[in-house]
Amino acid sequence: MARILDLAVITGILLGIGSVLISYFGNPVNSGICISCFLENLAGSLQLHDELRMSYIRPELIGFILGAFLVAVKTRRFKVTGGSSPIIRFFLGFFIIVGCAVFIGCPIKMIIRLAAGDLTAVAAVLGMMFGVWLGAKHIKAGVFLDREKNLPKINGYIVPALAILLLVFIIMEPAFIKEGRTGPAALHAPVLLSLALGLIIGGFAQRSGLCITGGFRNFFLFKETTLLSGVIAFFVTALVVSFATRQFNFGLNGQPASHLSHGWTFLAMVLVGLASVIIDGCPFRQIIKAGQGDIDAGITTLGMLAGAALVISWSMRSTSAGPEFAGKIAVLCGLIFCQIVIINYRTAGKRV
């Protein structure tokens, strides 16, 4: 237990240092590491949406998957499982990104924003915690998706192979891969630095199982604080590095990529927290698990990528002016979908 605790804290510290420093070296402010932003950038780069300002293959994403894959293989933790409610996981992944887009950030970015003094993230933290608490209550009440089963190894190699393909795209720059020269796409750290950071964090996250929603879920369910210690270490480190690199800016106003619709922020992150508990992991954890052979997480990641494309194309997101109408409706649809899943699996659980 002590060793896992150490690993969770070390991963948290690495995330804290890495996510703030990578902004210092070029990534967007308060968005050094953000799975939803990275997936939106990736979707644009693959021409799944046409917002060129949001089109760039983030090497960190590749690093997370390959880092997790390499460490899992090396430590014989590469276990290929899947087949647990795939279509439900796909759409929960989709709606998680909707929630992230309405808040403007995934749970990792939520912590980064809070550590950078952005008080608009407080509503997000409360919303996510409430969503996780709600999810934990339903787990206690017997709501589980279908049981996964072991699958042939080939299934587990597909997501890491796709990550390698993305790396090839970065190197070869084929014409069908788009890269924006303005906006957030133009803000990025050097490729090798981003890739190295992704590999290191991906490797440690595989070993520790660090997960933002998982940390809170374990605490609410069992009063277990191993992963939560990692989340706290992440926050504290990011706070210290934000101060050290003069990126700390305390207040509600003038915060980058934020808005003042706190009610929608809260609700959007309730969706993220609740859906993440149902599928067992926040967006970051899904990426890591997809790299270590979890096919269900791979399906969720594809759902998240689809969500990342459509939140831009259908404006199901927020801007600095606040949430778009389509974003609000999509958050409500996401919560409705979660409720339908919960009700159905609760009934199924009672029948068994």
Partner: protein, 179 residues
């Protein structure tokens, strides 16, 4: 133990891999730079900006001259004509914001900057030659303190709230992030 069908499948797989690798390699070697305009995207973008700046200089020549002479009201009238005929041109709102500021109408100036930035995000992109963030940031402290004073006098005034909202919006956009 591999049977005959397994061996055939492996041969087919290796054959397909070799053909694919060969085609990609040949394409990479023979593809000329002019066939891939995307590789010069930075240069293309620079030229687009240069063209845009030149077009703006031509379109707003008269407005700029009137502004230099201090004939703000006439410049604004001319600008309104341009906005009527070309409402899609975001640059007009930047000039309007500047003129309104010159006339001391800080609140309307801020509103126009917001309109311009909502239409053209390059105005808040630090890497763009169109960036106006520093100019806007200089206006904000004065505008904010003025509006906060007014808000204390008229706490329920919706106009003041909307004006403050415009200021906060501009601050958020200029701060950057991934929007």
């Amino acid at each position: 133990m591999m049977d005959r069908l397994d061996k055939i499948n492996i041969v087919i797989l290796v054959g397909l891999l070799l053909i694919t690798a060969g085609m990609v390699t040949q394409h990479e070697i023979t593809a000329k730079k002019q066939d891939r305009p995307e590789s010069d995207a930075g240069l293309v973008l620079k030229k687009q900006y240069e063209k845009k700046i030149a077009e703006n200089a031509e379109t707003y020549k008269e407005v700029i001259n009137l502004q230099k002479l201090g004939h703000y009201a006439e410049a604004l009238t001319k600008l309104e004509e341009i906005i009527q005929s070309h409402p899609e041109k975001a640059q007009a709102y930047i000039y309007k914001a500047q003129l309104l500021n010159s006339q001391g109408n800080l609140v309307e100036s801020i509103k126009m900057y917001r309109a311009a930035i909502e239409m053209e995000p390059d105005f808040v992109d630090k890497k763009s030659p169109l960036f106006v963030g520093n100019t806007v940031l200089k206006l904000i402290p004065e505008a904010r303190s003025k509006l906060n004073r007014e808000k204390k006098l008229k706490p329920g005034d919706k106009m003041i709230t909307a004006a403050l909202d415009n200021i906060y919006y501009l601050q958020r956009r200029i701060a950057g992030g991934c929007e």
